[in-house]
Point group: C2
DNA sequence: GCTTGACTCTGTACTATCTACAGAGTTTAT
DNA sequence: ATAAACTCTGTAGATAGTACAGAGTCAAGC
């Protein structure tokens, strides 16, 4: 219905997306090509606005551009796709997030340990426990 | 003391570092240039071995290459650097790790919520709660 | 109507952190 | 001797953008 159009900068402001990034998303087929004015300017419609909002939200949840492209395809598919696909994508991503958290927690523990071993005195870094830990062949694998 | 030398592939195996990556680390001044044989081959010594071990361990703790370069400089500096510097670098990195964990936990919560809202049935993705969430203007900011 | 500033266009280069490949030369094993 | 495995250089690709140069366009104020 709405015939509202937006120039690139306006779309950028409305979505908090860098305006150069909008061009980039078009290049990698995340955002469809908008119509062009006779001046060559891109003119976006409300569908672009909604899609870019979707992209920004998915990004904030850590989805990769490839995953976002898949999610957009599912949402656009006319009955071709199922909720099972959307859920599978989400669950698989969630698993990755959990794995990453688990990895980072191990890193946090190790960093915290080696940091506590160093008094941080304003003296020569010779024999600094942190550096020695990093040189240590036997530092626990993270 | 030890006059052991290693070719690139040997160093790679000993450190579990990809051999192309060793070349890359030399390019970005993370690993000093080794001596070259008359055939142009790189011949590494035990100092390189130890440094690359340091790099790999630091990487496994999530330090960026720039931070690793600083840590190496501190460890190499002849009394020029202090333990305070090493500790500050570590603490600042630890803070970043904690922040990242906190961000990921929020993402995990949101993903888990929207995933639970979807039954994942093998039916049309129309009205899929996950996709609707991602299109929703009001989805809680992560 | 003109000027000025803001915007947009294209293409390309840069960030970080590697990884991989082509085509040539070298070493090693059988 | 020959073939496999290794190394050399330089360059391109992946991921996810960001930034800039140089040209053209639009909008507001005078």
């Amino acid at each position: 219905m709405s015939l509202t159009v937006y120039k690139r900068g306006q779309l950028a402001k409305l979505t908090s997306c860098n305006s150069e990034t909008i061009r980039y998303y078009e290049k990698i087929n995340l955002l469809p090509e908008p119509t062009r004015g006779s001046n060559g300017y891109r003119y976006y419609n409300n569908d672009h606005l909604q899609r870019l909002g979707f992209i920004m939200k998915s990004k904030s949840l850590g989805f990769s551009n490839d995953k976002i492209r898949e999610l957009l395809e599912i949402s656009r598919g006319i009955g071709q796709h199922t909720r099972a696909e959307a859920k599978a994508l989400t669950e698989s991503h969630l698993e990755q997030v959990r794995q990453r958290i688990s990895d980072l927690k191990k890193i946090e523990t190790t960093l915290s340990q080696i940091s506590h071993q160093c008094d941080g005195a304003n003296e020569s870094a010779d024999h600094c426990p942190i550096l020695l830990s990093l040189f240590d062949q036997n530092l626990a694998k993270v």
